[in-house]
Symmetry: D2
Subunit: 303 residues, 4 copies
């Protein structure tokens, strides 16, 4: 349990910030969350799990699901996805349409909404059900058979999703969707609305710290692919604050507006933190502070 003390210290460092920031409130289901909740868990490459706080409490993973839809798409369909989505930081808010127009319907990266919609479309073509594919993967890696989409959140997102509908129709206008807009969006909402805990997400992300090897010892991605996913996480995983996140935390990571952040410590483990209050860029205020404290005390940033 070599990380327990570091997790305790990270939580102590983050505690004064609990309640800071703004809880995502664009849909009622998210706004109802406990604003002062905090959890953190690490799943190490050698099979341990350490936890602190509300690490077992499920929250809406939101954009963290984009990581899983990407890795499944790469595993099933290979590099072809990179012809339909880029790998560069966007320098713009996650739901912006501006770059998409300038760049003729090729989203900058798979973690802005437009890019994640394209990835979902591709995963849907590959699997027949992109939403279920992501949930199945998370259940398999975590052993948590109860883990699933929260249907109330998925419905609520669809009901408040004009911006995403605009993005999807815009992508379709450039010929960058294979499936009908409605199908793609319902699958996109299905995986974004998955509820999972820090413990679940640390377990599910661990294969990236193990350079592609899953819980059962099989390989999802090659070593090179796993490293490359980590690279995309580091440069694009935290919206238009990726530079700031790399500077403070120094780990590849994906955040969600539910307040979760899943980070990878290559060769060591997957570390997930959750606290609902968000900063202006949409990243968890207390979560970033806890990760900053953790990488400072362990010296485990990639740099």
């Amino acid at each position: 349990m070599r990380f327990q003390q570091h997790l305790d210290d990270a939580m102590a460092a983050a505690t004064p910030l609990l309640g800071r920031g703004r809880v995502a409130d664009y849909i009622p289901a998210l706004a109802a969350v406990d604003a002062e909740a905090f959890g953190m868990a690490i799943a190490t490459v050698d099979g341990e799990v350490c936890e602190v706080g509300d690490a077992g409490r499920a929250f809406s993973i939101q954009s963290i699901s984009k990581l899983f839809s990407l890795v499944l798409t790469l595993a099933l369909g290979g590099d072809a996805i990179w012809e339909r989505v880029g790998r560069e930081p966007s320098g713009s808010p996650f739901n912006s349409l501006v770059q998409l127009e300038t760049e003729n319907g090729i989203p900058r990266n798979p973690f802005i909404n437009a890019g994640a919609i394209v990835v979902t479309d591709r995963l849907h073509s590959l699997t027949g059900d992109a939403g279920t594919a992501v949930a199945d993967f998370l259940r398999a890696e975590t052993g948590n058979t109860l883990l699933d989409t929260d249907p109330a959140v998925a419905v609520s997102e669809a009901g408040h999703g004009h911006r995403n509908s605009a993005l999807a129709h815009f992508l379709a206008s450039y010929g960058n969707l294979e499936n009908p807009v409605a199908t793609v969006l319902s699958n996109y909402y299905a995986h974004c609305a998955i509820a999972a805990s820090c413990r679940d997400l640390a377990l599910a992300g661990r294969f990236l710290a193990r350079h592609g090897v899953l819980a059962d010892g099989s390989r999802l991605l090659t070593r090179s692919e796993a490293k490359r996913v980590n690279a995309v996480l580091l440069t694009c995983g935290t919206y238009d604050a990726a530079g700031q996140f790399a500077y403070r935390v120094g780990l590849p990571g994906k955040s969600g507006v539910g307040g979760g952040i899943l980070t990878i410590v290559p060769g060591h483990g997957a570390l997930c933190v959750w606290s609902p209050g968000l900063d202006a860029a949409g990243n968890s205020v207390a979560g970033v502070a806890a990760l900053d404290a953790f990488t400072t005390s362990t010296g485990l940033s990639v740099f």
Copy 2:
């Protein structure tokens, strides 16, 4: 000499690409370079240097100098510089004015031209001579007393520098320059026009692999500062191809239109490559291929 074979292999991998890309030709002094030149050198944290090809041949370091002006500014002036320049990838070409207008004169990061001009301005205030400060630092770290600005290149850059003059006046219009435009630009050109070899740059960058400790054992940056500079290099160091570079190479790095790329392998060493042919984003075609081969064969990317 544990890296010699890897360097030889990397050069072999890059050789078919020599002459590919386009040599920077916006000034005659750069256009005259040998388009098929190639060199590579690594300076390890424990004092070794391995080389291959034209590793001892001096070339125009151009934007690689921005790394050194940044670290000197941080060392002498601390974090205050981050109030005048950001740390986010720009998502735009290195000499674009667009974002600067949208963001009220605060450049996105210290490695696009606008940001480097602000850093040069600050370093000039701190030292009285920003151009000389960078050259002095490089001479001290390399022991190469002949290393210096190529005055013909500096003059030529100034004579073709309307875009940089526009950036500097634009920054001044927002009050983000302390010194006169002409002074700042002449210092900026002075450090960009330094001629140095792969060997020189690997030696000069090694302190970042040693987490801030210089050749003489003194400390230029704290461990945390050094890691953070590496983070900024990784997210912003290769123009608007930073995502692609992280994906292929997986190391913090700074490129220049002279064809050089200086990368940091934290805890291991500083690795510099040079070949003049550039891709569309302004990074050396053969250089990136050699770095890709090196990190693949050594497994030494940060991810």
Copy 3:
């Protein structure tokens, strides 16, 4: 018939250009048009109609319908519409989303697609059926009881309308639609797909040359309102070529991708031209040339 010779001369001037430009082909129904067709008609304030060429042949009025939805909205709902749409030239293509994001969901003017969608939404709220309202108005002013929406075109537009769907959802995401997206779009397509001839459109636009007075002598708009609609036509009516159109033709006008252009000669009459070949900005090549010739020979530009 004082304008007959001028119309004949304008047609003669335009004839060498017939077939130039590119027929709108984004939907099959438009692509099937006779590329070399040409018609022109003027309806004077004192009741005459002069015609030349295919002036009686119906074509798809497309964006020219935006003028009629605007004037009906102003007549029924007054100036309130100006809180939801601007009156400035956009400087961007007619279907761009970029400005909409920068300006928080308020379209620049009522003649770009986004603005016309907002106007249609408002007109639908005011009338219960925006599509029919426009067609009814055109039938009333022209006396042409056969004038109507071409259902094949409307269906085809809806089937190729991802860009407009994106715009409508985007507007909805900013709260700038009162009716459901699907309702607004079907009404929008209904009025865009109206088929009418040059003669019809000249008669329907004549009230703007009469400063607001309809065919039956009743007043649709006040004198001031009618002048102001002419001002918006002149600055915004021909996409991002409004400056060029004012320079060459010097009349308020609204063009459509069906190849029609309806212009107003204040105090004299309404002049409509049609020829399907479009220039890069989406305006009829031969149509603009004919209008240029007409205003030059008559001296009747507003300047």
Copy 4:
């Protein structure tokens, strides 16, 4: 004196707004102006001049000079200038660099700063002294031999002109300047800093109402050219509020941050108003109101 009553009424309508808005204060020489001053004058095509208020008081004409540099360039150099500057409304603030980058150094129109700098450059090549050429023209048309550049204003502008320096260097970087940046800017400031009264400007602009014929009966522009200049004035003459100005006032016009607005009533006369308080777009608050009242009471808009 058929316009005297209309001028009196227009001044009465504007009086409650005197002091509203914000006086241009980016240079001390402009900030020192009497904020509540108001003058208005019309010079008719048949030789009358009517005035009200401070119509004889000189103020800094600023961007109104861009109209005169354009017409002289057209008169001396013909249409060639349109290869270096466009004729479309910009949809952006007058001193923006953004569009210039997107459109590769061709300014949108001759009335935004970038466009006016290009026109000044061309006029300088044509005359050897662009600043003097504009002043000479104004003296000739007005008979006011004392009319001249205010050297204090010109010096002050140059000293606060980083934004214009940025624009000029940016244009030079695209090869769109024939003369050195410093030369072009000093001529640009020379004509912007001319001091003239409403009476002077109405007399100097009258030839555009007379379709190109100067005070001495000679012709500066052809009838067609004069109409086309009026078109550019209407679509581009009042910064990014051209649509709004056309809507409210309905006349071709050019405004300046000194608070003057010169408008053309084709076939009737040139009408100039001055009051220093500016709205957000940089147009005189009381001036626009007075013009609105004038065109409403006379019915003399172009629409």
